[in-house]
């Protein structure tokens, strides 16, 4: 397997900071893309009109509609204010994952530091919004439905909540690392033709993992802010 990264060519980027450099490069690209999308949207009347053909504007319309529909389905009406955050999380993870398919790039999501940070972001977010929505009554979520079972449920719930950011991070990192390991092994075994299948698989896994991360974040938020307990 090749241990070379294009980002290592940047002066000052050693072997340990490859994922940071990749993350910064991808984020810079994403910010530029977002500005391009904002410019393409236009002002006033033009902004409301849907795009006639597939362009940057059309892409963002389709993308935001999909995320907004998913949020409506999972979180419900009060999820509207979270749509930009979900869209940003999905886009960041997705583009970072896809960057790993370029030859000579290791994605930032291949590193536990990045993915656990994303998982912790999700963890703090849903707890914050849980407290914001319910006040201190949010703590009742940890006690389960029956008061008699509360001591038992507290332990179970605490463990399940603490494991959430870890499992989010481990899942993303494990999938990305596993995918690239399989691709690397097949590139060594059969250098021509066959790895194309694994590039397609990689595209599927990248999209699926970004989707799963966003979906789980949505579900955690909807569980934290729901009122039917």
């Amino acid at each position: 397997m090749v241990h070379f990264n294009w980002t290592q060519l940047i002066p000052g980027v050693g072997h340990d900071q490859v994922h940071v450099a990749t993350a910064i490069a991808v984020s810079a690209g994403l910010v530029l893309f977002a500005f391009a999308g904002r410019l393409a949207l236009g002002h006033g009347e033009a902004a409301i009109e849907p795009a006639k053909k597939f362009s940057i504007k059309g892409f963002f319309e389709v993308y935001l509609e999909a995320i907004s529909g998913l949020t409506d389905m999972v979180v419900g009406e009060e999820g509207k204010k979270f749509v930009p955050m979900f869209a940003a999380v999905f886009m960041f993870i997705w583009i970072n994952n896809l960057a790993g398919l370029l030859p000579g790039m290791t994605p930032a999501t291949d590193n536990l530091n990045t993915t656990i940070a994303l998982g912790l972001f999700s963890f703090f977010l849903y707890n914050f919004y849980g407290f914001k929505e319910h006040g201190l009554a949010y703590l009742k979520h940890f006690l389960g439905p029956l008061l008699a079972l509360a001591p038992l449920m507290l332990v179970v719930e605490l463990i399940s909540h603490i494991v959430r950011p870890l499992s989010l991070g481990l899942r993303l990192q494990g999938n990305m690392m596993g995918d690239h390991t399989v691709l690397g092994i097949f590139l060594v075994l059969v250098p021509y033709g066959v790895p194309v299948i694994f590039y397609l698989l990689g595209m599927f896994v990248s999209t699926m993992q970004a989707f799963v991360f966003t979906l789980l974040t949505m579900i955690y938020i909807s569980m934290a802010i729901s009122h039917d307990h």
Partner: protein, 96 residues
Amino acid sequence: MMTRLLLTVATIMATVPAFAEDGSGSSGWGPLAAGLAIGIAAFGGSLGQGKIGASAMEGIARNPQARGDMFIPMILGLVFVESLVIYAFAIAFLVK
């Protein structure tokens, strides 16, 4: 059949000390443990995921209109099964 199985096990056990003499410092069981970990995890995980997929197919066949509502719970079930396999994969990498 039984003798062949025993013979295989004996052969594996006999070859393990040969690995250990590489001077790598570990006991030499690592590759076997890693292979078993991911193998057993993939076995159980694929059985579970197959069950989820089969039930989803059955549900869609019975009620094609419910496809959209079934999609997210199905993905969630698949994800929770898969994450356990991924843990085993991480463990396999740790002990390798």
